[in-house]
Amino acid sequence: MQPIHLALIDYTILVAYVVFVVGIGLTLSRYMKSSSDFLTSARSIPTWVTGLAFISANLGALELVGMAASGAKYGISTAHFYWVGAIPAMIFLAVFMMPFYYGSKARSVPEYLNMRFDQRVRGLNSIAFAVMTIFASGISMNALAKLLNQLLGWDYNLALWVCSGVVLIYVLKGGLTSAIYTEVLQFFMIVMGFAPVVYLGLKDAGGWTAMNHSLQAVALNPAAQSLNDKTFAANAWSSAWQPLLGGPANNPMGVDVFAMVFGLGFVLSFGYWCTNFLVVQRAMAAKNMTAARNTPLVAAVPKMFFPFLVIVPGMIAVALATVPDKGYRIPPPILSTAVYAKGIDAVRNATLDNAVKSVGDALGKKVYPDKITALVAKNAAGKLSDQEIKQGLYDSIAENDYDSVILSLVKRYCPPGLLGLALTALLASFMSGMAGNVTAFNTVFTYDLYQAFFAPNKTDAHYMWMGKFITVVGILLSICAAYFASMFNNAMDVIQLVFAFVNAPLFGTFLLGMFWKRTTGTGAFYGLFAGIGASALFQALTTTFTNVDASGHVINIMKGGYLGVWNKFPSEMAQNFWMAIFAFVVCFVVTAVISLATSRTKSDPELKGLVYSLTPKIPSGDLAWHQRPGVIGTVLLICCVILNILFW
């Protein structure tokens, strides 16, 4: 990727944003009087602010990048991650679960687990969560520093430390409130920064209908762009449900409807949205119960329409690539100048017979044979310049770097000025990703590990000091995690896999804990372990069709099957969904069985406010109908169904 040259106006916008976030932190610092001000915002924030922060904490830059990538790879079906994989769970959180979280006065999700079960479950959940937030924040910062390095030519180390430093200042000064405020600011930056790119892209692609028309060509021959080896029905990229109903062989995701609805829509989605403290913390910071319950509902409105902002760019990209005179392709993997130089030499020295092999070897990538042959022939006919050959090579690489899709569109459509805005939006979302994780980390560490296990009964000033101290530690650990991620790509994959194991069964524990008073701490603890073990075992015994070579050996053990191959899935996504389903069922059953076999340690009165059947219903009589979570939730669900039907 060629570094972009930023104009003065771009830097001005970037600096203005940084000044504002630091300013917010400094302004808020004088309100930080107790540990609860710092770590939980003292439950004082209005609904629309917590709602936007709720959605924004989840909308990291990696999601922006990843959703555009999936939009290109899978088309509009990617929207299921929103319409199936988020909205129902967010509504469930608001209507059914928030009363327990907020009403129990717990300051964190692990603390709720302690009230409901015991210290063991709390400890297990908080350690896993703390480690996960650090790595999530590190991965995000590594991606940011790499991006600034490739895109703007900044030094990796400098970019990493400066950006982390900015986050440290505003989180240390303003605590959770600061993180929430900047998340809201970032929400608007993302929307405002990317909307014009989507608009220009759609205009360039000839509008929505023309784009869908191009996508039909993509679906009939995805191999032309190295998107997929198979061919599909014409609507595979432009319909959300029809390709899925045809079974895993008929959609580019390779997923069946059951895995999609039960695996993603129920297990994974509810596990994330209803139990992940990173997002739940935003709702807990709301000023009263109604505000807390309405937080996920406020968030659900923009979430429902985000596919148009984050997935459509990917669809625009593949659509453009089918139109030859647009001169666009999905970016190939980034190759260094030295590799291109080798490729250029290979083109100059190749004969038509050996061209494809020698050039492909020089680049170390798969190439389109016809394009290479044409390039070599053209060069033989009349000498081409280095730049012309390089462009030809760029177009001939038969591999895609989907994660670069969104940036390639930003570069394509943004003049100076708008470019600054779009890049600032991206930078903002990386930084708020770190801030969100660090503020969740410091709360869990201070209250659920330090106070619970090491230093109970200290003064509030002590915990406040600890909260600030651990914030600095958290940022430093994130930087270490970022370096770790930059050095060992595979190690990072392992870590993410382990987190998938930890998270998959979690919702089983919460579901039983909140809705069945008979669930015991021992049952929950061992059920969770069994679920984690089950997902690890499932991964070890299954893999994908493409991950097995002709003789039946597993190619990449990261993709499973290292203890033997009991079952093969059409895609990794299908494997993940089924793994989650399996882990959830194991956790659910083991928790229930052990609970029945052990005696209860908490009496009914102790569980009041923690379990559904023992908690008085919240009277909604004094609320206007349009403020009642049940009513809003129903309306939102109907809207979501309508969206699904529109893009059926």
Partner: protein, 71 residues
């Protein structure tokens, strides 16, 4: 919490919107610059949108500030 967030949002978008719009006005004659945005002076248009958004947020903050505390 003490600070009404509409202030920073309003101020920032007013500032960035104004900057973009002015930049758009001053570069409007440069057709080459706007070739990438398909011939639209997107800086001017989008700057104006951001400016209006920022001013609306500021208006909200001013109106909100007039209410008695606690509301």
């Amino acid at each position: 919490m003490g600070l009404d967030i509409r202030w920073p949002i309003g101020l920032m978008f007013t500032l960035i919107g104004a900057l973009l719009a002015i930049y758009g006005l001053s570069t409007g004659a440069n057709a080459d610059l706007y070739k990438v945005s398909l011939g639209t002076n997107i800086n001017l248009i989008w700057g104006a949108v951001l400016l209006v958004f920022g001013l609306l947020m500021l208006a909200g903050a001013i109106m909100g500030g007039k209410k008695p505390p606690g509301k």
